[in-house]
Assembly symmetry: C2
Homo-oligomer: 321 residues x 2
DNA sequence: AAAAATGATAGATTATTATCTATGATAAAT
DNA sequence: ATTTATCATAGATAATAATCTATCATTTTT
């Protein structure tokens, strides 16, 4: 008989190590991640390669790449681990509990409501461990392309990546002005009046800015931009200090709703209605824990929305969906 | 944190032992099959059950059954091993070879041509190991329902089981008579003349018998049945001894084609054209080695048919398919 | 050229897995 | 009641897997 590969000699541990190296494209980073020393990783990969009989990784200088076969093995690893993970969830169901690890990455603005939701989620599913990552949209898209998380929370789903997107909550954009601004006590302010005000803007490319620019374009009005700032946190004190007005997500006002520094203006056409989306790669089946969290999001976002969105001038919640 | 299942602690070996027990529904038979002692199997199952934290098997008296969860784990085992097996085939492809194990079960009559085909198959694919099982139709259907093999060879595919069936060779049913029978030298014998002869039949339910009965019914003729015998091997000497004539698959005459004991009659309407089929469950993707063998079957059955079917009175081979 | 970064190898140790023999417990058959 | 069949447990042994420290080899960066 010929010298043929017998995958029965492979261990799950070897496959885990391989998967970590394949994902990191680095022995050293995989070792760090797994709390092992680098030689351990090197040996495990060597053993696996010896069993398979063909190279799984190739090294060019200091950089590690997957061979075609290595790529196939990575797919097999992920399928296998997913099968085992789903069996774990099945067991948890039988035991009347839900367990597993949820890897969640959210855009910066979502940090205003996600922790509270996660708190409730943990109370309901104490067996599910959550790894939360807060980062900007660009990094989220990068992680999405590399399939690094179970779920991603952001405003507008990306157009250039094939994803499955579920909206779960309203994300209205509101006009902020100093608490004592002359327009603060008016109702149904015409947009043309607002256009006379100087605006504080987010950086080009930010979803909020694009939405505002498009809105003004549609009304044939021009924006008077006084200043650009890189984050909502920077914009809010600038508004309060009278440098200008701004349009931000209502969620950014989590702590300022009853303050005497910032007011939400009642402007005709506002708030601009947008949605929060939970997305995952279209080619991937959502993990069990991701699915549990998504269902939870859809259920619980109602009360979360009520917490933030009541009292916003001109805002009427949509009906059930 | 709760006491939760971690399937990373499971070994592939444990899963193999579990699969054998689940298939055999017996620790002792699984141990025999794996060349282990029974206590080894018992301990492996115990370890696996301890890791999972819920019963996978249940014992009623001396009989072993799968729990629902055990059934799920069996599915996971099969999926996992199939994935590993397909990766092995991928490796073999890369190495320019085909390897793996083909589990093949065939009906009794196919034993006349399958060994020769398997010989050629082995010469072409020395890395593929074949496990051949020859049994009756009823047992084949049972194995088919339990998904125990890669491929099954039989005449008519079952109607009550959802299968994928490929026909690969003609299986004509011919009329056999003693070599010195008065009809042996006649051409184009009318069926009405044949109906005056006493017949030796296979058992009720056999495919050959059903086809013959249907054929006579369509011609409005009755069969004169002298005797029923349980196998082709029993029928042939009875024909040669003058007890009556019979209709059997041409393949059963593998060794008697040039003998001076049995002749094939040239009867109007004969041979009854039938096909050999290779089948596998419709819900299952054919294994890689099964697919290799099926392709081989389709290619090689042409020459195999030529070996058996030339010279059969009234038989014209069909065109290419 | 020297230093830093990164994977490979050698040797050793520890932990874990796999298996056996012997025996016990229980159910089924005689 | 006795025997047979089948799984479970105890104790022991051997094999294998996993990991570490130390060092080497090579590439990249400074």
């Amino acid at each position: 008989m010929i010298n043929k590969t017998n995958m029965n000699h492979v261990t799950l541990r070897q496959l885990h190590v391989f998967e970590a190296v394949a994902r990191n494209l680095s022995f050293t980073r995989a070792a760090d991640e797994l709390h092992l020393t680098q030689p351990t990783v090197s040996i495990q990969i060597k053993q696996l390669t010896d069993i398979v009989g063909l190279p799984l990784l190739e090294q060019i200088g200091k950089r590690v790449f997957l061979t075609d076969l290595g790529q196939e093995l990575l797919v097999l690893c992920r399928d296998t681990f997913e099968g085992l993970s789903q069996f774990e969830m099945l067991i948890s169901d039988r035991k009347g509990m839900k367990t597993g690890k949820l890897r969640l990455t959210v855009v910066t603005t979502a940090k205003y409501f996600i922790p509270r939701l996660l708190g409730s989620f943990y109370k309901r599913y104490p067996g599910i461990e959550v790894s939360l990552n807060v980062t900007n949209r660009e990094m989220i898209l990068h992680r999405l392309e590399n399939n690094e998380d179970d779920l991603y929370i952001l405003g507008q789903p990306p157009q250039h990546i094939d994803v499955h997107a579920d909206y779960f909550m309203e994300n209205p954009l509101v006009v902020l002005a100093p608490y004592d601004h002359p327009l603060a006590r008016e109702k149904n302010i015409p947009l043309s009046r607002l256009a006379e005000e100087p605006f504080l803007m987010r950086e080009p490319g930010s979803g909020t800015r694009l939405a505002l620019e498009r809105f003004f374009n549609e009304q044939g009005l021009a924006l008077k931009i006084r200043m650009e700032l890189g984050s909502s946190e920077a914009i809010k004190p600038a508004v309060a200090g009278g440098l200008g007005i701004a349009v931000l997500s209502a969620h950014t006002l989590a702590l300022e709703r009853n303050s005497q520094e910032i007011a939400i203006l009642d402007v005709s056409g506002f708030p601009i209605r947008r949605q929060w989306h939970a997305v995952y790669p279209a080619a991937k089946r959502l993990s069990v824990v991701g699915s549990v969290f998504l269902d939870f999001l859809k259920q619980e976002s109602r009360s979360e929305a009520n917490r933030y969105l009541v009292g916003i001038p001109g805002f009427l919640p949509v009906g059930e969906n």
